[in-house]
């Protein structure tokens, strides 16, 4: 187990003259969640599809557990599993039928396939829905059957392409819990996401990609430290006090304060290249300063930088597709 789970160098995939993946160098170590963070159209899905042997790269190299994804595609396929961004099971079939079908294709006998399907449905809380067509499942249940289908044979590397996009907070938490258990059992996970928050919670390392290029790479901590530590969001009781509050925050935080269209809201970066601890201290001082000045605050929060802010910091421009 010496080769890294994934290793790419100068990987390129083009569609016409659109360079969807444009010279990507990545090294994903064993046994961790590796986060691939980027907005719509960044090239996440394309990169995953190349690594999962579905697309042929136009340039560069990609190896999975030391095996070339083009020349040794079959060897790669026997160790990886893909949960695509869109439904990756057959929506016309029931939960049981889907899992039995895939288990049979993976070489399980009839009986073993049925047993394996039942065991997985149970572990994913889908026993009650086992006999229902997947198209009648809720979003959360679909994602669970998608993931269940990916671990029929426990893979050494699991690709999860935006597994929580469109899920409610509870379903999202369930998926996160599942991912944690999967990794704890020795599977390496490549997770794509549009949410820094999600990458931060799950991933050991993150690569931020945009326009097919890796624009930053590192641990969540180092990444956040490099882009500033967070954002203070304030909602005032009285809109008339906003100019004064704005002035106070600017002094205490030492950063520029944005007064948006909402007449009672203010947003500011909590320090520039500070540690998280520094941000918390800044925020407390800011709140105290507002209280001392007699400014009534309805809501005060210190949030992580959003993907928007990450991009702003990394590229000095707005990502087009991120809200």
């Amino acid at each position: 187990m010496s080769a890294p789970a994934i290793e790419t160098s100068g990987l390129v995939k083009t569609f016409g003259d659109n360079r969807a993946v444009d010279g990507v160098d990545l090294t994903v170590p064993h046994g961790t969640v590796y986060g691939l963070l980027g907005p719509n159209g960044a090239g996440k899905t394309t990169l995953v599809r190349v690594l999962a042997t579905l697309l042929r790269p136009d340039g560069g190299q990609a190896r999975v557990f030391g095996r070339d994804v083009v020349r040794e595609a079959d060897a790669v396929r026997s160790r990886v599993s893909l949960t695509g961004q869109y439904a990756s099971v057959d929506e016309d079939l029931t939960g049981t039928e889907n899992l039995v079908l895939l288990a049979r294709l993976l070489g399980h006998g009839k009986r073993a396939a049925r047993d394996r399907a039942a065991q997985l449905l149970e572990a994913f809380g889908l026993t009650d829905a086992a006999g229902r067509q997947v198209k009648k499942y809720s979003g959360g249940m679909r994602r669970r059957i998608d993931i269940a289908a990916s671990i029929l044979n426990t893979p050494d590397l699991l690709f999860l392409d935006e597994p929580t996009t469109g899920l409610d907070p509870r379903s999202r938490n369930q998926v996160w819990d599942i991912i944690r258990v999967v990794v704890a059992h020795g599977t390496t996970v490549l997770l794509t996401t549009q949410y820094l928050d999600e990458a931060d919670r799950l991933a050991g390392r993150i690569a931020v990609i945009d326009h097919g290029k890796v624009i930053a790479e590192g641990t969540p901590g180092s990444l956040k430290a490099s882009i500033g530590s967070g954002t203070v969001h304030v909602r005032l009781r009285d809109a008339a006090q906003r100019p004064e509050a704005e002035r106070l925050l600017t002094t205490v935080l030492g950063t520029s304060v944005q007064a948006g269209t909402d007449p009672v809201a203010l947003t500011a970066r909590a320090g520039s290249a500070d540690s998280e601890r520094g941000a918390a201290e800044h925020a407390s001082r800011a709140l105290a300063a507002l209280a001392d000045a007699g400014i009534l605050v309805d809501d005060f929060s210190l949030g992580q930088p959003s993907l928007d802010e990450v991009f702003l910091a990394l590229t000095d421009r707005k990502p087009e597709a991120v809200a």
Partner: protein
């Protein structure tokens, strides 16, 4: 909290580390599924899809019945003096026409199916690559058999009396199904090659109408102008009809039968690899 979606079971699912851990235990993997077994499994998928959407059998039952009735009564009187007499000539031909026409649904079905995310999963499985398509056509073969049987039953009811008996009829249907299986690979190719379901339909019609009508299905080619006879003679459908007709009538025509088997082999050897090439290259989404 527990009633946000109607489909969610009343008790909220909480992932259990123990239950998940148990399914994640790395047990010895079963040996890989063989090519044949994987194809049969994909065939089972096709049958499951028919089970869940039985309406799709409409085109393999209603369409052949209508074809048979329509042409028997439309041409019977004029061409052979009586519908019953014409039926003895027409039935094998109309069976070939209907089944060959139904093969186009293989392409249409594949064109929509392949766009679905589940094909990405199939393509990342360590199984024999063509299995997904072979299995799909196995499912279609079942539809061909059903259509042929339907027509035979209608024919028998209307007065078709094959001289070859049960054996002749079964041999005829068997040969037709073999040919249709091979012919289907043309449509899998178009199904992968063309962008939309509609264009697959369009191309299929364009090919199938001349092939089936400019043949010996409806009338004896001897009545046609010379240039048309030329086309009819090289038309594979003509040979299939001649072979099936002979088998059902009980006077086995080795030459035509061999011709059909050879044509099937050629179709499979040409369009099978072309299809697989497109299937492997298909970078959907």
């Amino acid at each position: 909290m527990s009633t946000t979606t109607t489909n969610e079971p009343a008790t909220v699912y909480t992932p259990s580390a123990d239950a998940l851990g148990a399914v994640l235990a790395r047990e010895a993997r079963p040996p890989r599924a063989g090519a044949w077994s994987a194809s049969l499994t994909f065939g089972w998928r096709a049958i499951l899809k028919i089970k869940h959407v039985p309406e799709q059998l409409f085109d393999v039952t209603a369409f052949p019945i209508i074809m048979t009735l329509m042409f028997t009564y439309l041409f019977g009187g004029a061409l052979a003096g009586s519908t019953r007499e014409y039926l003895q000539f027409l039935l094998p031909g109309i069976m070939v026409t209907s089944v060959v026409m139904i093969t186009m649904y293989t392409g249409v079905g594949l064109n929509t199916d392949i766009e679905k995310g589940v094909f990405d999963r199939f393509r990342t499985l360590p199984v024999w690559r063509p299995a997904a398509l072979v299995g799909m056509i196995f499912g279609d073969v079942l539809r061909y058999v059903l259509a042929a049987t339907t027509i035979m039953v209608v024919g028998l009811v209307l007065g078709f009396r094959p001289g070859g008996g049960v054996i002749g009829v079964l041999a005829g249907i068997g040969l037709l199904v073999v040919f249709s299986f091979a012919f289907s690979w043309i449509w899998t190719m178009f199904g992968l090659f063309l962008r939309s379901e509609k264009s697959v339909m369009g191309v299929s019609m364009l090919v199938l109408f001349p092939l089936t009508f400019l043949s010996n299905v409806f009338v004896d080619p001897g009545t046609m102008p010379g240039w048309l006879q030329g086309f009819v003679e090289v038309n594979p459908i003509t040979h299939v009809v001649a072979a099936v007709r002979a088998l059902m009538a009980g006077d086995w025509d080795t030459g035509e039968t061999m011709w059909v088997l050879a044509a099937s082999a050629v179709l499979l050897l040409v369009f099978g690899p072309l299809t697989m090439r497109l299937y492997n290259r298909k970078g959907a989404r």
